[in-house]
């Protein structure tokens, strides 16, 4: 099998301090990137620099530190928005994708969803793109229905079109499945949903970290992603929405920063996106996310994607040679992101993860916050190996050797 590199792996790996550590005396092979990614030194340094040199609150005080903090925070907003082809006025900083969908549930859903309305999600969603809509449907007396899947792990567009005939109020769909890796045709989905009069929300948590994304090219009403899955810090993410939509929406959290004027009997709201950023925002981590974006831009998202396609191609072939290996999701690496969910004979994923841990290999095991999808796959749990820029062919070989060892222990 071909082992050619698009990234300078030696250099990339040297940028991530954690890769120098060992686990149980073995080299760390980190393959849980769909869960959270490791951080390059540039991101860690950005946090240290902010707290060491510029720390103060933003948008308030007039002294030098406050101006620097504000400028750094807003520069981060420009970078993050620009990274996905949006304007900074359309970007609300949130804790992560989960907070983004919950913000939409309250700030948009409470006024726009009525009794009897239909909300549409899909069977391949992460819980963060299911549960908020269940809660919204329950509080409003609306109905929530799901687009089905085809056996190859892609969305069943016929079932989608059928649901569109019922004029849904909202279509909430993932850009890329965190289990199957399936990349959905969000341009087609958004266009059809829009034509049916639905508001669209796309969960980009597994897409933005792994491939070039230009949201202008498919124009969702809402788009959300998390910083920690794209080399940035935890606790920071983005909700992107059209400016007019943000303007007509009600606030989410009330408090400082989000107001224009406060009286005892009423208040008026700050301009968007500040209207949705109540309280002291996560300044340092937004700046850290900006640094992560600089890092990814430096590598080039086209190359990041190509790197993952090659690793995925190599891994799918290598692992398929193991007796008892069964993977879920589309077979063509070009149709999926660098994630492989699988089961291995009758070795339970948690047992497998424990055995691999002994070899220094970190994979995710369990239901991957996608229980409805696991039920559809008819499995209680799966193992998942997922890649990012620092993963190498050696990591795939280590995974394969680890699986062989598990096979020996369990006498597969």
């Amino acid at each position: 099998m071909l082992k050619t590199e698009v990234l300078d792996m030696e250099k990339v790996r040297a940028d991530f301090p954690i890769l120098k550590r060992t686990v149980h005396g073995k080299r760390l092979v980190y393959l849980d990137n769909s869960n959270t990614t490791q951080k390059p030194k540039a991101v860690i340094d950005a946090l240290i620099d902010f707290y060491s040199r510029h720390n103060s609150n933003v948008h308030r005080a007039v002294y030098v530190l406050a101006e620097e903090a504000t400028e750094s925070y807003e520069r981060a907003r420009r970078k993050v928005a620009g990274f996905v082809g949006a304007s900074p006025k359309e970007l609300v900083f949130v804790r992560g994708t989960t907070e983004a969908t919950n913000l939409v549930r309250f700030a948009w859903g409470e006024t726009n969803v009525k009794k009897g309305d239909l909300l549409v999600s899909t069977l391949m969603e992460h819980h963060s793109n299911i549960v908020p809509w269940q809660l919204l449907a329950k509080s409003k007396g609306a109905t929530l229905k799901f687009v089905g899947l085809r056996p190859d792990g892609t969305l069943d567009m016929e079932s989608f079109e059928k649901l569109l005939k019922e004029s849904p109020r909202l279509v909430a769909v993932t850009h890329c499945s965190n289990v199957l890796g399936t990349i959905n045709d969000v341009a087609k989905i958004c266009a059809k949903a829009r034509a049916a009069g639905a508001t669209t929300l796309v969960d980009g948590a597994q897409a933005v970290p792994h491939m070039p994304v230009d949201i202008k090219s498919f124009g969702p009403d809402f788009y959300a992603f998390s910083g920690h899955k794209m080399l940035g810090p935890t606790g920071i993410g983005a909700l992107l929405a059209k400016k007019e939509l943000l303007e007509e929406m009600e606030p989410f959290h009330g408090g400082g920063e989000m107001i224009r004027e406060v009286f005892l009997d009423h208040s008026t709201w700050n301009d968007v996106p500040y209207k949705f950023e109540a309280g002291t925002v996560n300044i340092a981590d937004a700046i850290g996310l900006g640094a992560a974006i600089d890092y990814l831009t430096g590598l080039g998202m086209d190359k990041v994607r190509e790197h993952e396609i090659r690793l995925l191609d190599y891994a799918l072939q290598a692992l398929a040679e193991l007796k008892g290996f069964h993977q879920y999701g589309p077979l063509d690496p070009k149709e999926r992101a660098g994630v492989i969910s699988f089961n291995f004979a009758d070795v339970h994923p948690h047992d497998l993860a424990t055995i691999l841990d002994e070899e220094g290999i970190a994979i995710r095991s369990g239901h991957h916050c996608a229980q409805p999808l696991m039920r559809w796959l008819d499995v209680t749990a799966a193992s998942r190996a997922s890649f990012h820029v620092y993963n190498s062919y050696d990591d795939v070989d280590a995974l394969k050797a680890g699986l062989k060892k598990a096979g020996d222990i369990f006498k597969v």
Partner: protein, 140 residues
């Protein structure tokens, strides 16, 4: 050392051939719980006989080798004992039963799921409430 060492013959044997696996036709206690982190499931049914004895006990479940072997071995241990024994049996007893494998904090929950289900069911039957000590800020 934790890790692969825990998969000794005993645990694998109970995982592949679980004893007391199935459901009872007649039962007085039916208790089920899941481990939300892993998705392990265990359901235990007990028929209570004379003198508050565990006359029969069966379990069904899905999950990792540790959780299923532990639940199965626990049913064997409990069969024929008085319900009060369930109040006395401890987490350490379960670890001992499993051969004292060195489990990490996350896998300890797998090992103890059966015990939790057993205790919850029996305590409930006896009109008491079983409080599990795992919670935020606590390491099992």
């Amino acid at each position: 050392m934790s890790g692969a060492d825990i998969y000794r013959e005993l645990i694998l044997d109970y995982y592949r051939n679980p004893r007391n696996f199935g459901k009872l036709e007649k039962f007085d206690i039916d208790s089920r719980d899941t481990n939300p982190l892993c998705g392990d499931e265990v359901e235990i049914q007990i028929r209570v006989g004379e003198g508050q004895k565990i006359e029969d006990i069966k379990f069904v479940g899905k999950g990792c080798a540790i959780s299923q072997a532990s639940a199965s071995m626990l049913t064997e241990l409990a069969k024929g004992k008085k319900l009060d024994w369930v109040r006395e049996v401890t987490k350490d007893d379960v670890f001992k039963m499993l051969g004292n494998p060195d489990l990490g904090p996350s896998r300890v929950k797998c090992a103890l799921l059966g015990l939790k289900v057993l205790k919850t069911g029996v305590y409930g039957y006896l009109g008491a409430r079983y409080e599990d000590s795992d919670g935020p800020g606590e390491t099992p």
